[in-house]
Amino acid sequence: MKQHLGRQSGVQNVEVSLIDGKVEITPKEDGRIDPAQLIKATYDSGVSVAEMQITARGKIVKDDSGNLLLQVTPNQAFAIAPNDLSTTLNPSAGSPAVVTIRGQLYKKSGKKKPDPVAALKLLILEVQKKE
């Protein structure tokens, strides 16, 4: 699995802890990494993903329906699942301010294999920094 993940685009380093089942992935400097692709690559190597968390910097924007998104690159944005923390980001929407967020991007539910193509929603766990 480590080799499989290490071959994915944008991945600089992969650390696997067999004891607690944790996988730490360090993206390359440009940060162009695709979490959905990482989930798919993990399943392809025969291992189930129970949960994925990311720490990301980006701008808060709103889509046409008024939903909040974290835009990490011009071509990559994650829909933000509404919770108490997401409401505190509402005033930042559309501003040039950059926020650093730690959030849960995926959590396994049931025994079904996830559809990695389905849009991942970011459940904010912590707003680390607003700049």
Binding site: K22, P27, G46, V47, V49, E51, G58
Partner: protein
């Protein structure tokens, strides 16, 4: 007029610089079925 242009260039540069730092910094997964 010149000062205004310089200010605009600086503002644009600062915005671009902040935007370029936006990225995924870390990914952590909890996995099951690993041997």
């Amino acid at each position: 007029m010149k000062a205004r242009k310089i200010a605009l260039v600086l503002l644009f540069g600062a915005t671009l610089s902040v935007a370029s730092q936006a990225q995924i910094q870390h990914v952590q997964m909890r996995v099951e079925g690993m041997t």
